[in-house]
Amino acid sequence: MKIVVPIKFVPDLVEELTIDPSGVALDTAWLRLIINEFDDHAVEQAILLKERGGGQVIVSTVEADGSDDFLFTAAAKGADQLIKMTGDFTGVNNHALARAYAELLKELKPDLVLTGVQAHNDLDGSVGPLLAEYLGMPYVGYVAGITLADGSVIARKEYPGGLIAEIDVKLPAVLGIQASEQPPRYVAYSKIRQVMGTAKIEERPNADLNLDGGVSISRMFQPEAAERAEMIDGDADTVAEKIVAIIKEAGVL
């Protein structure tokens, strides 16, 4: 079983986001990038499958601040091969990215591709199902659990309210991971350091990206709330008192 996990970096939402002077894009100067959290789950799920049924896990990302660290961390968790797509990917749409990845995957010939279910900054669809279409593979997303079967996998797909659909998906396939069966494991930094000495990141240059398929933006802005919360100021005691008063007023206390 050969499993490929493509990794995306996204703006950290804990930081303040600002819009650049063009008015149609985020200001990248102050942007802190972090791994799309669903990708952490995808890596974990891939490694769980390998531990259960054997095989090979390949983790791949486009060049970004922190991409090497992430790849080495994945290796420390058990990934066998690390690939970095180099080139300028800033502001590249998901259709273009998926096409670039499809070229890579045609060479790697995986049985299973695990992407994150989505990223919070998508505007032109998601890479997982785009990739599946370009590769002629089936796609199932919102997956939280995978069991290997003969020539296929049983994916547990989430529906609202906690309903699960058990779905048989013929391999090769692309699955969009919502959550791994176990929380993503933690690896000690000492172990990552060790891996850095031995693991190798393969670089794969990407020169001419075909940018078709993107969506045009005429304005980007921060939401103006119709009714913003009434803010309670003061120290913890003052705030606590006010909250107790609000709860009493609602008749719950």
Partner: protein
């Protein structure tokens, strides 16, 4: 090419999903702008009756045993044939477990752009999408000639997508559906919980800001002092700090308590979807720009670890 707006109806086990009605309401607004019709696209097996309460000009119904329940392969093939044949101005999909399984693939297959996370349309027919966990909005022209759009809830009321007059049903022949690679084995019901958070009047909800499993106890003490229960955002459940039965939001439960106290929750749209109808929302978040303050009635940027002991104390005194 037509000016019609198609709405891809989502249904599971004979139940039409709420987002379908939201999309019918959105489609009406868009159709008024384009001058076309609203058509509900319904795929199923003996399912034409599901369309009875749709506020649509017509239902385009595709009947096939392989379409009885949603699976991405069969549905994608059937939708591709229909869209290619009828070339509507736009097709609305849920930005959801069902809609997202097929919309991007159809975009790649048919060469029609897909616009993600659309929440509403402007009067002059632009899309308005909500991204970055609710922190950023994006506006733009709907791509021509045909656009696929995935829709979030929140911009339109489901009620507006319902009608007491059943629309006419036009049957459309299903294409050949063989060699399918995705099949539904079975549904698994959600496990029954210790408490049903959907029925609680007082909820203390914890998010990633709670930091670790041990700290859940702090929220638990407050909840029991208040006579309520603890619930959570997705990361808390994914970390295994609370069971799935306590999850609020898109993939969890829809709750409407009298008081919803959100501790260390940013207010991502997927969370807000499950709690925005609470009577009074109180948000505690150290980030003054957190989107949760756009849905909360009251807010504070006090650190929750400073607030929790003080609040639990004061609640006990107030009893």
């Amino acid at each position: 090419m037509s000016q019609n707006i198609f709405v891809f109806i989502e249904h599971v086990r004979g139940q039409v999903a709420e987002i379908s009605y939201v999309m019918l309401a959105a489609a009406r607004q868009l159709a008024q702008n384009t001058g076309g019709e609203v058509a509900a696209v319904l795929l199923g097996h003996n399912a034409q009756d599901l369309g009875k309460d749709f506020a649509a000009d017509r239902v385009l119904y595709i009947e096939h045993a392989a379409l009885a329940e949603f699976t991405s392969d069969a549905y994608r093939v059937a939708l591709a044939a229909l869209i290619q044949d009828q070339t509507p101005r736009a097709v609305l999909f849920g930005h959801s477990s069902i809609g997202m399984d097929v919309s991007s693939g159809l975009s790649a297959k048919l060469g029609y752009p897909v616009v993600s996370s659309c929440r509403s349309f402007t009067e002059d027919g632009k899309y308005v999408s909500q991204i970055c966990g609710g922190k950023i909005m994006v506006e733009g022209d709907i791509p021509s000639p045909t656009a696929l759009i995935t829709m979030l809830p929140g911009g339109y009321k489901a009620e507006q997508g319902k009608s007491s007059q059943a629309p006419s049903v036009t049957s459309v022949a299903a294409p050949a559906l063989d060699g399918l690679r995705v099949t539904l084995k079975q549904y698994i019901e959600p496990e029954a919980g210790d408490v049903d958070i959907a029925k609680e009047t007082m909820l203390v909800s914890v998010g990633r800001g709670i930091q670790n499993k041990d700290n859940i106890e702090l929220a638990g003490e407050l909840a029991s002092a208040l006579g309520g229960s603890v619930c959570a955002s997705r990361p808390v459940v994914d970390q295994g700090w609370l069971p799935t039965t306590r999850l609020v939001g898109k993939s969890g439960k829809l709750v409407k308590p009298k008081i919803y106290l959100a501790l260390g929750i940013s207010g991502a749209p997927e969370h807000v979807e499950g709690m925005s109808e609470s009577d009074v929302i109180i948000a505690v978040n150290t980030d003054p720009n957190a989107p949760i303050f756009n849905v909360a009635k009251y807010g504070t940027t006090v650190d929750m670890f400073d607030l929790l002991p003080a609040l639990t104390d004061k609640v006990r005194q107030a009893r």
